[in-house]
Amino acid sequence: MLDLGQNGGFILASYAVTLVVISALVWRSVSHYRVAKRRLGEIPDDRDA
């Protein structure tokens, strides 16, 4: 087990915050992409019009 010393809480909190912020950003980006793709599929294509 890695011994992080007396400031271990600060180190782990830094990595936890990074993980939470990046996960939220990835989740929002992917979910927006999926919603846009699904909505685009529901509307008839007008590219040839």
Partner: protein
Amino acid sequence: MTDILTRIANPQRFTRVADRMLPWLAALTIVTILIGQYGAWFVAPPDYQQGETIRIKYVHVPAAWMALFGWSMMALSAIGSLVFRHPLADVAQKAAAPIGAAFCAICLITGSLWGKPMWGTWWVWDARLTSMLVLMLMYLGVIALWRAIEEPTIAAKAVSIVTLVCAINIPIIKFSVDWWNTLHQPASVLRLDGPTIHSSQLWPLLVMGLAAALLFATLLLLRMRTELMERRLRRQMLNAARG
């Protein structure tokens, strides 16, 4: 370079290229993060003064680099949008803002978590920290501006002007530690006379910097794809409403 930019100016061509690149970029990002984290936790030694707390550096510094890179990229896109009227420039600008804001938030929070045990305080109003907080407010400002104006072309003009004016803060952030007496340490990697940190700590930091850049690129392409689809949806709905 101009030729490449002209070739991918067509949104449909860009979409095809982005779709092919996204899975590879995502995979490369994950592999790079794993290598960087292995180096940060198991190869890099503890600092002789800061001990294990130095490991915060491997998330704090790459996040700061990407926060600065994000606005610089937005400023270049603003020129592309205002001067060259490149059809993807304002799409890239809009897609980059939340990514840059997220990296800026990580930089500020992890910096505070690093400052408390090392400086004895969560925050000081020194030039580096304050200019970084201003960058965060700038990101939030342009995100709000994109949402406040419904018509994308009008929003793009307003955001481009604001982005270019506010870009003055980027060199201020970079050189704040040289121009003013700050609690924040001076640059130790991006220096004219070369890095001042030991190679055993430098390579995991550079790998994590590359990982952050790859993550930025992956999310940028994904968000640009989404924005292009949303603009097409908007056009189709307007056409349908007009009959």
